[in-house]
């Protein structure tokens, strides 16, 4: 297995994909829950507590914590649900949906719930979010998150995302923040623990989730697919496969990040895969995101 794992192996892969490895230290990031924090002068209140914030230019409600005299995860404002601690790149996928208010939304791998809360906020607690996760322990964390942030429009099931079509619902919006291999920027022992085999296993799982999710996507619906993996098997290669096998099209998106890769280790992908966004670690953790729609649907 030695040849298919380890820091040198993965760094070499990134180099082949056009990115030169550098160590990354992520800054703590918060996202203001705008619906809950309306009229609260939250930034001023946090600064008064000794929390120095810097607005993240590419996010609507995201702030980097420059310094803090208190634990940002233990202030009254946090416990009251006025903000969440959510990594910068992780704030992007939900922001790419259009017209969320009143919609019927599936959050296919929801725990621990950062994106579910973000969805509820952008929906202003209208419509319905069906949030799934496969681990009961993680659903408790999700429930705490929903309670803390006063979310009112969510229905949570202990259910494998690969069984989402069993619910017999048609969703206007689907978020697949897929279970993935993660990346070294958010996991200090990532290089030690991960192998290409893990990546391939996750890639197969992600394709199964995508397949089932598409079955419950409304004809005019939007599907956001994201991972925090840098490995193309979980990212561009999966999306290239999806547009060829699931009758999906890739939509243009405008957000932070570089164009998706269209050539992976010598294999040419559909040129439209460049509409995806790839975020190499730096200002954010490693991330990948794209927006998909059903292809050829006459509305």
């Amino acid at each position: 297995m030695g040849l298919m794992s380890g820091k040198d192996f993965f760094i070499d892969r990134y180099q082949q994909l056009g990115w030169k490895y550098r160590e990354t230290k992520l800054r703590q990031t918060i996202r203001i829950n705008e619906t809950n924090a309306k009229g609260k002068n939250l930034v001023d209140r946090l600064e008064h507590l000794g929390v120095s914030l810097e607005k993240i230019p590419f996010l609507k409600s995201g702030y980097w914590v420059q310094s803090s005299k208190v634990s940002v995860g233990a202030t009254a404002e946090y416990l009251l649900g006025f903000y969440s601690i959510q990594e910068a790149a992780a704030q992007i996928p939900v922001s790419l949906f259009t017209r969320l208010k009143g919609k019927f939304v599936l959050d296919a791998s929801a725990a621990p719930g950062g994106k579910t809360v973000q969805l509820a906020n952008l929906m202003e607690n209208t419509g319905i979010i069906v949030a799934l996760d496969v681990e009961k322990r993680r659903l408790s964390a999700l429930s705490n998150h929903l309670e803390r942030c006063h979310v009112r429009n969510t229905l949570v099931y202990l259910l494998d995302a690969r069984l989402s079509s069993n619910l017999k619902f048609k969703f206007h919006r689907i978020l697949i923040d897929a279970p993935c291999s993660g990346n070294f920027a958010s996991d200090p022992v990532w290089f030690k623990n991960r192998t290409l085999k893990d990546v391939e296993r996750n890639s197969a799982l992600q394709r199964q989730i995508l397949t089932k999710a598409v079955e419950c996507l409304a004809d005019d619906g939007e599907l956001i697919y994201s991972t925090c993996s840098l490995e193309p098997e979980e990212d561009e290669l999966n999306i290239d496969w999806a547009i060829k096998n699931l009758k999906l099209s890739i939509e243009e998106i405008s957000c932070h990040g570089e164009k998706g890769l269209t050539e992976i280790f010598g294999t040419k992908l559909d040129p439209l895969v460049e509409r995806c966004k790839r975020l190499w670690p730096g200002e954010t953790q490693g991330f990948f995101v794209c927006k998909l729609k059903k292809r050829g649907v006459v509305l």
Binding site: A74, A76, L79, N144, L146, E147, N153, L155, F169
Partner: protein, 168 residues
């Protein structure tokens, strides 16, 4: 209380309604929209209700849980009660607010304002200077009087610091 106490759901929700009534507040909760799962109560809306099946884990507004005849409210429920004008509420000062969410009781000198009933033995919501509900407590004795009162006036029963304690 403006609650129609009819039907099986209303029976099950008795501990919830009894709890609410302790705050001298009138809240119109439709028993038809209250669902109970393993002792936990959820308030649904007309959109969510038809989609819920028995296997759900969490739905709509979490109201709290009943255990051994006792009701443990959610912080969403407490904040809903706090918005009711006549509810028993006590506003405390900034330092005391911080101590309260760390699980501490409230001293008489920390009380800034009192709304509703403040009799010994009653429950009261505890609010910070911004009017945000931090939890609730039980009034132990006199809540007004000497500004330097170092006596404990409100025993902390539940506070939002619980979110952190649950993670341990």
């Amino acid at each position: 209380m403006q609650i129609k106490k009819t039907g099986r759901c209303a029976m099950k929700a008795a501990s919830l309604f009894n709890f609410i009534s302790q705050f001298n507040v009138q809240v119109a909760l439709n028993p038809e929209l209250i669902f109970e799962k393993n002792g936990r109560f959820f308030l649904l809306n007309d959109l969510i209700k038809p989609l819920v099946n028995r296997d759900f884990f969490y739905a709509g507004v979490y109201l709290g849980k009943a255990k051994a005849g006792k009701f443990f409210p959610s912080f969403i429920l407490l904040s809903l009660l706090a918005k009711e004008g006549q509810a028993n509420r006590i506003v405390i000062d900034r330092k005391s607010a911080w101590l309260f969410i760390c699980g501490r009781d409230v001293l008489r000198k920390s009380i800034v304002r009192i709304h509703g009933q403040a009799k010994k033995g009653t429950n009261t919501l505890v609010l910070n200077e911004f009017g945000e509900c931090l939890g609730f407590g039980r009034i132990l004795g006199k809540v007004t009087g000497l500004i330097l009162g170092n006596e404990i006036a409100i025993r902390n029963v539940s506070d939002i610091g619980d979110f952190l304690r649950r993670e341990r």
